[in-house]
Symmetry: C2
Subunit: 331 residues, 2 copies
Amino acid sequence: MAVTIKDIAKAAGVSTATVSHVINGTRFVSEEIKKKVNEVLQEKNYHPNLLARSLRSQKSKTIGLLLPDISSFYFTGVAEGIEKVLRKNGYHMLLSNSHDDIEIEKEMINVFNSQLIDGLIMAPVYGNHSYLQQTLNGQYPLVFIDRKPKGYNGDCVVLENIKSTYDATCILIDKGHKRIGLVLGFPSISTTEDRIAGYRQACHERGIAVDESLIKTGDFKYDSGFSITKELIENGQATALFCASDTMAIGALSYLREKGIKIPEQVAIISSNDFKWTQITNPPLTVVSQPSQELGEKAAELLILNIKHPGNKKKPKEIRLVSTIVLRGSC
Amino acid sequence: MAVTIKDIAKAAGVSTATVSHVINGTRFVSEEIKKKVNEVLQEKNYHPNLLARSLRSQKSKTIGLLLPDISSFYFTGVAEGIEKVLRKNGYHMLLSNSHDDIEIEKEMINVFNSQLIDGLIMAPVYGNHSYLQQTLNGQYPLVFIDRKPKGYNGDCVVLENIKSTYDATCILIDKGHKRIGLVLGFPSISTTEDRIAGYRQACHERGIAVDESLIKTGDFKYDSGFSITKELIENGQATALFCASDTMAIGALSYLREKGIKIPEQVAIISSNDFKWTQITNPPLTVVSQPSQELGEKAAELLILNIKHPGNKKKPKEIRLVSTIVLRGSC
DNA sequence: TTGTAGGCGTTATCAG
DNA sequence: CTGATAACGCCTACAA
């Protein structure tokens, strides 16, 4: 049995209230008693029961993080940024994986609803999130990351995907490409839609007709990157590709390499996400360097702000971070 | 205020005990009452307060996971394996990052000691772990992963690093290399020591004298991979490299590429960890494919076993998983 | 077959 | 300045 505040009180000859106040510094205690209590605390190696504390204080100092894929390089960077800020503020993180499945997402939210967390950061999966209206009764603040959910309005921290895809497309067009294929993630999530919008805008401004068959959606995974690329090259005669994720880009590169297609001579490529390994492919990849850590930090800061000031129920806040394009040999 | 069991009891005209028993199916309740209670439960959208439940039952159904680097591809795979098994068993996961710093590790363990978790999985950082003897009073079971700690004995799930490094070294020696450099992680952690042991054994058996200056330790990061490689090549005249982590291998490759050194003609390379991107470097990397997900799964299974059967205090169990070498163009 | 009531370890509200 | 004591929400003897 772990040692409790009661044990300390008895051993120090004071009340539990005094012990609690010594621990938390929440009201005046004479130096003498304080010293005595601290001694006993040390001696008995006391550690507060956070469960009991949370139950009583209605604050768990824990936030939930719901990611669609915890082994994605991108989301891992986000998680690290979040963790950094949480640590600095004395919060912990309960991590879950929605596996990009809305049923699992709902299930996890129900778990989080059990007073376990003071706030939630989530990347909403593909699907309709209007269910959050009922599921979540403003029990705790919520910050969306990476994607804006459908059917629910809330604070979010996202990337300027319209602009970065616009820029990337312009770069490709300016290099003379007319058939640029998009290797995208899930359809009808905001990042995918934004990317398509940016692409269309660039094509439109540069006077290039958009061939819808060059816009393909997948699931962010290697295999879909591979197969979409195959289609775009074989059937679509694409001469350039924009990949929405590093993992899909690896799939794309694998296909190109397998077919002996030269980069960038025959097919140019720009990928999202900048990781160390993008420098050592041959040629090195031109990438949209997404500030994943910073996104996590901003989200955590915003969430903690919302936790500390629950009153601020104005219109949802939206933070947009810009990515930068790093030009390398692949285009 | 969230709806409690008391509210349900009042609304359904029964006692809290009955409600609790209906929820948990823990004693007989007449069909009629059961139906009524369930209706109210639905209607009021009740969710149990897991904190209160945990406080009462002394079980939180949550385990802690302490990793040295949550953005490492390898540990991310481990986390995913753990998460998978936990989910299947109705457990949650509290994730923390020790940043390979023993002070942070201690601090996090103290947090975990606060009855928050039913068990802990951790990859011990570089340093002495005898402090665990006092810090941990068998409050909850603990499973170490990836590395065996110094100064503390406990269950662990690790990789057969002696054998895999032995095999890798043999491959390089058999290709005619006599000056094989080791690009390792932290000194005196078990994985590093095991790798050195495997290397020595291979050299010894093949009649090659070990030049100690070819054995270099770092911190698993890109920069140390880069600088160690520079040293090994420039000063050590190494013609082959074994890298202890993917990230260090990227650093190594960056250096080699920068210097225009041909792989594998001038320098051969074998790296730990098999990720998709290792296939698209030029040439594709020969790797020690480490079963990171499986390691996570095994660790979680072992931990849950220990949680459910606390009596088993025999000698610490040690599970060793074998890696397989995937031959590609880099050696 | 169901209800009452005590307690898990804290914090917070009273008194004193 | 400090001590009792009542909650927090749930589970579970024990009673009825």
